[in-house]
C-alpha cells in the first residue's frame, strides 16, 4: 500500500545500492526529481534500465551511479548525442559501463512480460540485425503451430521502478494521462515502485471510466514533487522545456562543465527546486 513520503525518505527507503532500477517516462513524465535525489544519495552499482536513456541517465551515468545500462536508444532526442553516456562507453569515464542493448520493441515487450508475470517475451524482431550477435540474452522460440522462429527476450523484473505521474489521491492511487509510455508496465513488473506526482488530490473526480490508474497497492511510496518531470513535461501542468535539451548538448560535452552543472543544479539543491524551475519557465512565456 502506497505511503506518501518526502522524496528523500522515499528514495532512502526504496532504492538500494546494486539495485536494478527502471526510471521510465517516454519523453513525457520523466522522473528527473527522483533521479536527482538518487544522485544526491550517491547510489552506486545500479543497473539502469530504460528504453530511451536521455538527459537524466546521462547525469546518473556521468555521476558514476551505474555499473550497467539496459536500453534501446541512447540519445538526446531531437538534438544529438549523450556525451556522458558516450564518454562512459568510449572511454570508461568515470568508470566502465556494461551495456545490454535491445530494440524498442523488445524493451517494451520485456516490460509487458514482466507486468504479466511471464519469464520472457516473444516478438517478431531482430530479423537480419547484428544485435543478437552482441546481446546473448536475445534468444528464440519456435511456434508450436506454425514452426516460425520468433525472438525472445527475458522479462524485465526490476528491483525498483521509478516514475513521475500527474496526481495521486489520498489513498495513494496514481493517475497518468497523455503519452503513457511503459510506465504502468514498469511499475507492475517491479518489486518496488516509487512514484513522484505533481499533486495529491482528495478525489480524481470525473474521469474516463478507463483512465490509466495505478492502484495504491501496486505502489510502494508516493512523493509529491511539483515540477518533478522538468525539463520533460507533465500533460496539463507544464510543457517540455525544449531549449534545455539543446543547452544540455553544451553542458554535457565536457567533463568539467558537466560536473560544475551537477554541483550547482543537483548536489546543492533539493526537490523544491523543480517547482521553481517550472514557475520560472512559465513566467518567461
Amino acid at each position: 500500500m502506497a505511503r506518501v513520503l518526502p522524496l528523500a525518505e522515499a528514495v532512502e527507503a526504496i532504492v538500494r545500492d546494486g539495485d536494478s532500477v527502471a526510471m521510465e517516462g517516454f519523453t513525457h513524465l520523466i522522473p528527473h526529481a527522483a533521479g536527482h535525489e538518487i544522485i544526491r544519495q550517491s547510489r552506486k552499482h545500479l543497473t539502469l534500465i530504460r528504453m530511451t536513456p536521455d538527459i537524466l541517465y546521462d547525469q546518473l551515468i556521468g555521476m558514476g551511479c551505474a555499473d550497467r545500462l539496459v536500453f534501446s536508444w541512447g540519445g538526446n532526442p531531437g538534438v544529438g548525442s549523450l556525451y556522458r553516456l558516450r564518454d562512459a562507453v568510449e572511454n570508461g569515464w568515470p568508470h566502465r559501463l556494461e551495456v545490454e542493448e535491445h530494440s524498442h520493441a523488445a524493451m517494451a515487450n520485456a516490460y509487458e512480460a514482466g507486468a504479466a508475470g511471464l519469464p520472457f517475451a516473444v516478438l517478431r524482431g531482430y530479423i537480419g540485425t547484428d544485435l543478437p550477435k552482441v546481446n546473448p540474452r536475445i534468444k528464440s522460440v519456435t511456434c508450436p503451430y506454425t514452426g516460425e522462429v520468433l525472438a525472445t527476450v527475458p522479462a524485465h523484473r526490476p528491483d525498483v521502478a521509478v516514475i513521475h505521474a500527474l496526481k495521486a489521491d489520498r489513498e495513494g492511487n496514481v493517475l497518468l494521462e497523455g503519452i503513457l509510455g511503459v510506465q504502468k508496465e514498469a511499475v507492475l513488473a517491479a518489486e518496488r515502485a516509487l512514484v513522484t506526482v505533481e499533486e495529491v488530490v482528495d478525489d480524481f473526480g470525473p474521469r474516463s471510466l478507463n483512465a490509466c490508474i495505478l492502484p495504491a497497492w501496486t505502489v510502494s511510496a508516493v512523493a509529491v514533487v511539483p515540477g518533478g518531470a522538468f525539463p520533460s513535461y507533465a500533460q496539463g501542468y507544464y510543457k517540455r522545456f525544449n531549449a534545455f535539451y539543446k543547452e544540455w548538448d553544451g553542458i554535457a560535452r565536457e567533463r568539467d562543465t558537466f560536473l560544475a552543472w551537477m554541483k550547482e543544479n543537483v548536489l546543492t539543491k533539493t526537490p523544491d527546486a523543480f517547482a521553481a524551475r517550472v514557475r520560472a519557465l512559465q513566467a518567461a512565456e
Partner: protein
C-alpha cells in the same frame, strides 16, 4: 520558373511526394517527420501519422522536437501505451510505410545507427536502434531519407542495426520477412530504388543540377543507375511555401522557452 531551394528542401519534398493519402506512416523525428507532415499539409490531407510514443493519427501544427512532445498527443485521435504501439500497431501489420534514416547505409539499404568501429570498443557510440530493427521488417515498405556523403554511404557497415535488403536478391524472403523493405531512398542528390532482381539501391532520378560525378563522389560504392534515369521534379512554389511555413512555425514554437 523554378524557385530557389536548398538540398534539404528538395530531399524532404521528394520524400513527401512518395506518400499517399491512404498511407499509415510510422514517423521518426527529424526529416521523416518534416516529410510526413508536409505530405499531410499538401497532397495527402487524409494520411495517418503514427509516432512510436503511442500517438495515433496525430496532426501536429508544428514539428515535434522529440518523439513524444505534448503537441503530438493533443492533436492525436488517441494515444496508446508504448507496448501496445509496438505490439498491436507495428508488429500487428497496421503500418504501410515506415520512415528510417541512419548514420551509415550500404548499397542494399541496410542501416547502422549503433556504433562506428567495433561494438566493444567503439570509435563513436551512436544512439542505437530504437524502433528501427522492427520498423524495418514490420512496415509494408520503408522509405529512407539521408543526406549523401562518403562517411554515411559506405561499402560495409560497421554494424547492421536494421535490415534493408540484406545481402541482396531474395535475402529478405529467405529470412522469412514478408514485407517489401526499403523501396525508396531519397538523398539530397538523387532518388534510389532497389533493382528488381539484385535489390541493390539504384539511382532512378537525379535532382536538378546534380551530376553523376557528384553522386559517385559522395558514395562509398560504385553507384548503379536504372536504364532510364529521370530528373527529379523540382519543388513547386507551393510545396516550398508549405515546408518553410512549417519550419517557421516550429522555430517560433521551440524558440519560445517551451
Amino acid at each position: 520558373m523554378t524557385p530557389d531551394y536548398k538540398p534539404n528542401e528538395i530531399m524532404t519534398i521528394t520524400a513527401a511526394r512518395a506518400l499517399k493519402n491512404e498511407d499509415v506512416v510510422f514517423v521518426g523525428i527529424g526529416m521523416p517527420s518534416a516529410a510526413a507532415n508536409l505530405a499531410r499539409l499538401t497532397h495527402a490531407p487524409g494520411i495517418t501519422l503514427i509516432y512510436e510514443s503511442g500517438t495515433l493519427a496525430t496532426r501536429p501544427s508544428v514539428l515535434p522536437l522529440s518523439i513524444g512532445d505534448g503537441e503530438l498527443c493533443e492533436t492525436a485521435l488517441t494515444t496508446v501505451s508504448v507496448p501496445e504501439m509496438f505490439r498491436y500497431w507495428l508488429q500487428g501489420g497496421r503500418v504501410s510505410v515506415g520512415f528510417l534514416g541512419g548514420a551509415q547505409i550500404d548499397k542494399f539499404a541496410n542501416l547502422n545507427t549503433t556504433v562506428v568501429g567495433p561494438y566493444d570498443k567503439p570509435k563513436v557510440r551512436l544512439p542505437g536502434g530504437g524502433g528501427a530493427p522492427e520498423i524495418a521488417t514490420s512496415c509494408g515498405e520503408i522509405f529512407i531519407i539521408m543526406a549523401q556523403s562518403k562517411r554515411g554511404f559506405v561499402g560495409k557497415l560497421d554494424f547492421v542495426t536494421s535490415l534493408g535488403h540484406g545481402e541482396g536478391g531474395r535475402h529478405r524472403e529467405k529470412l522469412g520477412v514478408k514485407t517489401r523493405g526499403p523501396t525508396r531512398l531519397v538523398t539530397d542528390l538523387c532518388v534510389f530504388e532497389p533493382d528488381p532482381e539484385t535489390r541493390e539501391m539504384t539511382v532512378v532520378s537525379i535532382h536538378p543540377g546534380i551530376t553523376r560525378e557528384q553522386i559517385q563522389d559522395n558514395t562509398g560504392w560504385t553507384v548503379r543507375y536504372a536504364a532510364k534515369v529521370a530528373e527529379t521534379a523540382p519543388p513547386t512554389a507551393s510545396e516550398l511555401a508549405a515546408l518553410r511555413e512549417l519550419h517557421a512555425r516550429t522555430a517560433r514554437a521551440h524558440g519560445a522557452a517551451a
